[in-house]
Amino acid sequence: MFAHIDCNNFYVSCERVFNPSLNGKPVIVLSNNDGCAISRSNEAKALGIPMGAPAFKYKEIIEENNVHVFSANFPLYGDMSNRVMSILATFCPMQEIYSIDECFLDLSGFDVDLKEYGLQMKERVYKWTGLPISIGIAPTKSLCKVATRVAKKFPKETNSVHVIDSEELRIKALKWLEIGEVWGIGRQYTKKLLAKNIKNAYQFTCMGDDWVKKHMSIVGLRLKHDLQGIPSIMIEEVKDKKNIATTRTFDYNTENYEDVKERIVTFTTKCAEKLRKQGSCCNSIQVFIATNFYRKDLPQYSNSICIKLPFATNSTFELAEYAVVGLEQIFKKGYAYKRAGVFVMDFTPENNQQLNLFQNRNAKHIPIMKAMDKLNRKYGCDLLRLGAQAPGKTWRMKQEKLSPHYTTNINEVLTIKV
């Protein structure tokens, strides 16, 4: 079983922690560069202000309803995120941080009442940080996401924690979920499926494998299996996000600064790659490091820092430089580090960068990045690396259970002897 934890309207909730009088009132948080809504309270959603809405277009609604408007405070959100993630990590050593406000916990082998365990997480996060979270628990990650949606939609009935642990509950939830709301099914596929009269997630899981594979690629097929309760999907496959995270638990503890730095640079490289893939640049980068909470015998330390970049970028070189500056600020000697991660956030579309005469962005990086992505895609993940990244496999993620990328990497397709 996995748990998916999602902070409710995260940026708005962070603002409310420090200004409780905003509770129950419509609040939106705007991106710094283009003034679009990137977080909305339930009250603001009810007024019909959509995600990504440019504030100037909704000026009347905002003024008439006295909507409280904030511009994004990423250092604050980053710090609060670090607290939430660290608290959740104390509940389960296998944590996968998916974005600034979402993570998965692998609860395999946990002999506990899962609902009760979820409630404990929710209560501790709320007590320690003031932030409300919703939790979905299910046999696969995409079913967890479905369960979280149920928990969010029915906070009173579920107490914000929903567990899908039977076939009956799985089908009930999938029938309830509209097809356009399914994690990983974009607008294009929604149109296609609606045209075939597929209106909810359950109907989608009843489609034939061949049709799904033909029209929605192998990723669509994996998603279908995942929703059927067979773990099939890797979360990296679901893209186009408002913020991107790369975080890992190390194979072993390390006190060595160079080791941690190498990890941070590698994570930054991954984030930059994902940014370029979805055509975004970021304006802020956050770095975090933490010791192993489960080694009570060792001194404990965790910290994070959010750096506002002087210009929007998706260059690996530039991002790595700032990530290392951040790491230098928070790295403390004498601690054995076990987890680290990099977040990029506050996005601007790549083709929409503000012209700035004095910006440092190095245009020369663009063709280099393009070549780097192309080669790495062609010959496997890490052919081209920055000097600060370690060669070899010493630090590869623990992926023993992962089958080869049979269908997506030309070097790993099935081979047969004849």
Binding site: F18, P20, N73, L76, R83, K127, T129, S302
Partner: protein, 146 residues
């Protein structure tokens, strides 16, 4: 110490724990008779460790102005730990009538009351109607005595 938020009377900071300040520890101070053990004492104190028991739930809050009732004055630094239990007589940062304020917690017959140090102000009961809430408990406060 990073400032993350400001209200009229308080500034909120995240607790910076990157550095440590180690001071030699000379035992408890008792007027008159120095303990003979002090000659051998080489234990060191990291103030961060003492003042911040739970970094995940700790926030620094700075007091602005002198309008604060009683115990606190301009520039005092409060170390607030949200994970601490609400116990009788603890001082808490509270949110009452749209403002942050410092009150003492009193518990009577299972009911929680917020007591101001200035007796001219009313005692407030925490209930679902008046929106009075306890934000966090003051673990330590740092006062400038210079």
């Amino acid at each position: 110490m990073k400032k993350v938020f400001q209200t009229k009377r308080f500034e909120f900071y995240t607790a910076g724990i990157e550095t440590k300040l180690e001071l030699a520890y000379y035992g408890d101070i008792r007027a008159g008779f120095p303990s003979p053990a002090e000659d051998f004492n080489d234990e060191r104190i990291d103030l961060n460790k003492i003042l911040i028991q739970n970094p995940l739930s700790t926030f620094y809050v700075k007091v602005i102005g002198n309008s604060m009732e009683g115990d606190f004055s301009d520039g005092d630094l409060l170390i607030i730990d949200k994970s601490l239990e609400w116990k009788e007589n603890r001082i808490a940062l509270c949110f009452v009538e749209g403002e942050f304020t410092l009150k003492r917690i009193r518990i009577k017959n299972g009911k929680h009351y917020l007591v101001p140090s200035n007796s001219e102000f009313p005692i407030i009961e925490i209930n679902e109607y008046n929106n009075a809430t306890i934000w966090g408990v003051v673990a330590y406060s740092i006062k400038n005595h210079k």
